[in-house]
Amino acid sequence: MSKQEPNAGAQGTWRVKAGLAQMLKGGVIMDVTTPEQAKIAEEAGAVAVMALERVPADIRAAGGVARMADPTIITRIMESVTVPVMAKARIGHFVEAQILEALGADYIDESEVLTPADEEHHINKNKFKVPFVCGARNLGEALRRIGEGAAMVRTKGEPGTGNVVEAVRHLRTVMDEVRKLQTLDEDELMAEAKNLGAPYELLSEVKRLGRLPVVNFSAGGIATPADAALMMQLGADGIFVGSGIFKSRNPAARARAIVLATTHYNDPKVLAEVSKDLGEAMPGIEISKINQAEMMQTRGW
């Protein structure tokens, strides 16, 4: 038998940061705004919750500047569940991130759902011990975020719409670009790095692995169990559901159904079964009806 002294280990290493995301795979991360909602999410089988002051649909409706949530909300949610608790910081707002790290949030989402604080630079996530997840619409954006230290990626979709079309577009784009990379000659990689605006070393790693070097969830518009299974079949490692649960008629039942659909995404019989009797889904928004200035997915550089 062996015995080792505690606290001799290394904290905040890449393996530890990316590793937590690997533990979340095949699971559903749910937006919550109260300890009660967090408990409903955990009870339904969520692998983590995202602690927010308002879900994206309400942020969209309210307009104005959306910021990091009040620390009291995040702390109360952390005290109410045992699953990991994530929280959002504005793009480029490294002080909000410092505050979230001090609070003990398990993952920070540098998120386009909030109003960006910097229109040129994202947070230097390598400086933090706590891991970050960032949004991306394509491979170049994903690799830029990973280059800055993101240990997990999520395709953006269009948050708060209950419309899965943008989530599909962004995940397909990333998967297509990864597949295309496999067909390129080694000699063509630098030009492709330039085209995509992606760091060469990371692009080279994606070519070697045949996938992103970190876990990639799908987000932004998922409202039904079928939506979740669709994104899983398209190649997502897991699912973020924002407004889709607590803006629906029966959040507990819908949350559970989305969890089951994410596990059994390849089994249409299970999907048919879990899709029954869920009550009304959240009201959806047609993307073309959204004012260009109110699109969240275009935030991030």
């Binding site: 062996s2 015995k3 904290q11 590793g19 533990m23 795979k25 095949g26 045992t82 003990g104």
Partner: protein, 192 residues
């Protein structure tokens, strides 16, 4: 003949365990339904969220089927979340568990994510080179009953133990390239 080992594929780092088992020399299967357990020599319960995996296991009949197959002779290896689910007792929780190893599991016992760590763990049974052990919001084993072998500790905390063909680690050998812990599990399966 290579041992037939399943990885419970409800949620968690399933692919990483499949790859680690293949490196160690097993024939692997992803297990989504209880019928698939029938002729396995071993089963891995991966890292993930223990509450989420536990609920899915209950819903799909694994809480009864896994102990039944274990009585038939199937060995079970639980990492992290899997460690919690394999225990007879979970400190401060009444969530369902398999009760395959007589021990008390303590959840999130090293702290939140920022306290997660990796460390070189001396495991003389696996050879001279230490094992790089990755602990992510890890549990540990508070105490064990008779017949349970403690294989490693960090400080006073038990982080690896075995009983018969069953094995638990609080850390994630599947996140490194080192196949020795998975090979150790395959060796346990070979013993009668």
């Amino acid at each position: 003949m290579a041992p037939r080992v399943g990885v419970l594929d409800l949620q968690g780092d399933v692919a990483e365990h499949v790859e680690a088992l293949q490196r160690a020399g097993a024939e692997t299967f992803r297990i989504k339904r209880v019928e698939q357990l029938a002729d396995l020599d071993g089963l891995v319960i991966p890292g993930g969220e223990s509450t989420a995996i536990g609920k899915l296991m209950t819903r799909y009949g694994f809480m009864d089927a896994i102990p039944r197959e274990a009585r038939r002779g199937m060995g079970v290896y639980g990492t992290c979340a899997g460690l919690i689910l394999v225990a007879t007792e979970i400190d401060g929780s009444s969530q369902p568990r398999l009760g395959l190893i007589d021990m008390v599991a303590k959840r999130n016992a090293f702290g939140r994510q920022r306290e997660s760590f990796e460390i070189d763990l001396d495991l003389p049974e696996l050879g001279k080179e230490p094992v790089r052990a990755v602990f992510i919001r890890a549990p540990y084993v508070g105490s064990v009953g008779p017949g349970v072998r403690v294989l490693a500790r960090v400080g006073e905390k038990i982080v690896m133990a075995s009983a018969g063909k069953h094995l638990v680690t609080a850390f994630h050998p599947e996140l490194t390239e080192d196949p020795r812990v998975h090979r150790y599990f395959l060796d346990l399966l070979g013993k009668s």
